[in-house]
Subunit: 234 residues, 2 copies
DNA sequence: CCTGTCTATTTGTATAGTCAAAATGCGGGA
DNA sequence: TCCCGCATTTTGACTATACAAATAGACAGG
């Protein structure tokens, strides 16, 4: 007994999530949807407004409604540099690909991310540098089944995260934040002391129930933090 | 040039946030608001639906609309025990008040939280215990100006966080998550090794622009994590 | 070609109703 | 007294309509 505006909402959501309507795609005008669903404009409008409120579409007068760009590979909270909080603008950002190769998932790792062993993946390690200091070490798996274009991508032009945004439409994601002690290799790359506390962000992204990418990002704990303001009305 | 339904939304939001309408308070029925604002029911309904969508009110047929209970002192993400993730139910929870005293804010601390030095605060330290193991150390400041009832509260019955939920209506909050190494005192209380990585959650809560409480919660990094699933449609 | 204007399209806001579903709390019956 | 059923209130869903605001794209003028 779902209501009509809810059905329209879910219908369009599904089209966006499955990639049938990619980011930037124009959504039929309210008038057209009113015909396809055989209802009044108010009902269509309610569904579209809800989608807009959730950030899945962007609406512009006269132009129409468009599928928004996904934010699947963005952290839930902002990552900020503890030392230079005020300095918002003027960050010099860069990245360095440490390694990149195509391989097949081992059984242990496959089980950990809930995919079949033997699946082909691109394994990428990338160091993120802000203002000449390393601020994150990224270890990523990209399932070639879901993103075949990743096979021949070097990620030199744009880091894997941003690159994926342009390839995969919409998805769901799970974030986990842990505190860990840096191992020797990580400490060296991030130029911090061994055993220093680090923030470890793990994110797994799915589309249609299948894993797209799995990434671990390690931040130096003494320099970076996750922050977010939440007035209940937002 | 704000629209009418938006004005109604903000008007009611303000009443809730400022505490004029405390949690559980019944909101005038749509029909009554339609009279007070001199508009149609649809317009009122739109505003109330938006408030309901944001979790600020709960609506029930025939009964009416009610101000929801605040979630101001809840973490944005769930805190879960890494070792026993499956075991959702059946946690034995307890807490122990380590210290509690009334004092005045020093200049350094006052500056850090953006309040005037010399303001009276209750300073509470509390250890949270889940399944016989300490899982969090809480260091909290409560501004007596905002919550005078805290002066004579022992927090033995319920920990400061839950206690505050019943005292302060609605508020805004800022969360910060850091990774830190445990100092000697913290390590001993949490029964972990010195310098072990810990998750440090800092939360500051305001009401009407004035700080209500400021809290630092330290979790053992090897046993606890923050996790959240985010399908963009939620 | 470039620039300013005009128009038609599309979303935003609002009204005024109808019918449906839920559930509270009352009154009547055992 | 207690319990059950029903009437009434209140929210939920939807229609049909109206006008306002923005602006993309066509068109005219320099």
């Amino acid at each position: 007994m779902t209501s009509l505006h809810q059905r329209i909402f879910e219908d369009i959501e599904q089209k966006i999530m499955s990639g049938v309507w990619p980011p930037g795609q124009r959504i039929p005008a309210e008038h057209e949807l009113e015909v396809t669903y055989g209802c009044s404009r108010m009902t269509v409008s309610k569904a579209l407004s809800a989608l807009a409120a959730r950030g899945m579409i962007v609406r512009r007068r006269r132009a129409g409604s468009f599928v928004a760009s996904p934010q699947m590979d963005r952290t839930v909270m902002d990552i900020s540099d503890i030392g230079t909080e005020a300095k918002v603008a003027g960050h010099a950002y860069g990245h360095r690909i440490l390694s990149r190769r195509i391989e097949r998932l081992g059984t242990a790792e496959a089980a950990a991310i809930g995919e079949a062993a033997g699946a082909e993946v691109a394994r990428v390690e990338c160091l993120h540098i802000v203002d000449a200091r390393p601020n994150a070490l990224e270890k990523r798996l990209i399932l070639l089944d879901a993103v075949p274009q990743a096979r021949d991508e070097t990620f030199e032009a744009s880091p894997p995260g941003s690159w994926l945004l342009d390839q995969v439409p919409w998805s769901e994601a799970k974030h986990i934040i842990r505190a860990v002690s840096a191992d020797a290799a990580t400490a060296k790359l991030l130029t911090i002391e061994r055993h220093a506390a680090c923030l470890l962000l793990t994110r797994q992204t799915w589309q249609n129930g299948r894993t797209v990418t799995f990434v671990e990002i390690t931040h130096p704990g003494d320099r970076y933090q996750f922050a977010g303001v939440f007035h209940p009305s937002k």
